[in-house]
Symmetry: D2
């Protein structure tokens, strides 16, 4: 997913602090969920106009930080469980395409809600 050098940095970061001892798949999944909620919190109570404005100020950096946090835990999880993320995404998109063929679902909100 992220390039090999960056992944190496992430692995080294936790190793040199002797923090891999805390990382097991279930606790990483918990952490990913917590970070996803912090990402969502950036949008809490805000409407589309406010969000557009916030994205044009220095508030944007806080959002990018939360997105980074989610991506970091996703990277640790894929690394530790030996998951090829791009393969996993390809396979899931194939399942999605088969289940929701264009001609059946195009423009249909009900199908979108069932899909997502």
């Amino acid at each position: 997913m992220i390039n090999a050098d960056l992944l190496k940095q992430l692995i080294e970061f936790r190793r040199e602090r002797d923090w891999e001892q805390f990382h097991n798949p279930k606790d990483i999944a918990i952490s990913l969920s917590i970070e996803a909620a912090e990402l969502l919190e950036w949008f809490q109570w805000r409407d589309k106009t406010e969000i557009q404005q916030m994205l044009e100020t220095d508030k944007r950096e806080a959002l990018e930080d939360e997105i980074a946090d989610v991506a970091v835990y996703l990277s640790y999880l894929c690394h530790d469980l030996n998951i090829d993320l791009e393969q996993a995404i390809k396979r899931k998109m194939e399942k999605n395409a088969a289940k929701y063929p264009v001609e059946k679902v195009k423009g249909r909100a009900d199908k979108y809600n069932e899909y997502s």
Copy 2:
């Protein structure tokens, strides 16, 4: 983050189904959070032994599907908000390293809990 061809596939997938109309940053953030919870659900009630066993069976594919779902929404969010994910991760890791220097935090669980 994910390679350019795969990202192109994701963007085309929602376009050809006329589904971009549903995608705005706040609703994508909501969806990412929902998928993170589905990822966590794979581990629900399970202990380390059960998890290890499950990873060696076909149950593993369901976990990879959920990880893919999180990665897909993360990709749409970064694409739509024009976020360079690797840059965002690099910057966040620099902040983390400055806040938690190795010599101060190595092996310290209290510092890890404060960090994460």
Copy 3:
């Protein structure tokens, strides 16, 4: 929180199925988070108009089911940890009131975002 008879029913439900063995505080907290995401999912992609309409159809029952699921795990958690929920709420609201006095925050969106 919920009345004593209903709580007794919940405790009996898991006991007679020999399911308390799965309930420990961390796993109940995980489950509460998963159910909160399922509650949020009912609103996924929907705008205010659609939500208003959905609340007037039989779709409303699915939402009430998810709200019930969150409340059930909250009840198990408070029961198992011996937490007086009304006391906890009272104390938290006192902290909130002290931190956000009416005269300082009334009508201020920035204060509301900092508060919540």
Copy 4:
């Protein structure tokens, strides 16, 4: 659910600060999810022994605060959508009991995982 006087306090708290303008069902559901993640965060990285110890120290109050936050948003949601929470719980437990009769599921972990 919570007693009528306490609910009145919650409703008055947001009214006197002119904060009901921010409360719509979808945004309350988002907030409930965020608070559920903060509740889960109290348990992040901790094993059963550490959790037991933490519950016997002043760290317990932070957990009770998060539980209170989830309960407060659940109360606002039920109030604003006119949902009788105890009725909703009763109905959901009846569905659960019908779907998972004692004689079929007692002691069966697989059935528990399917159930929850």
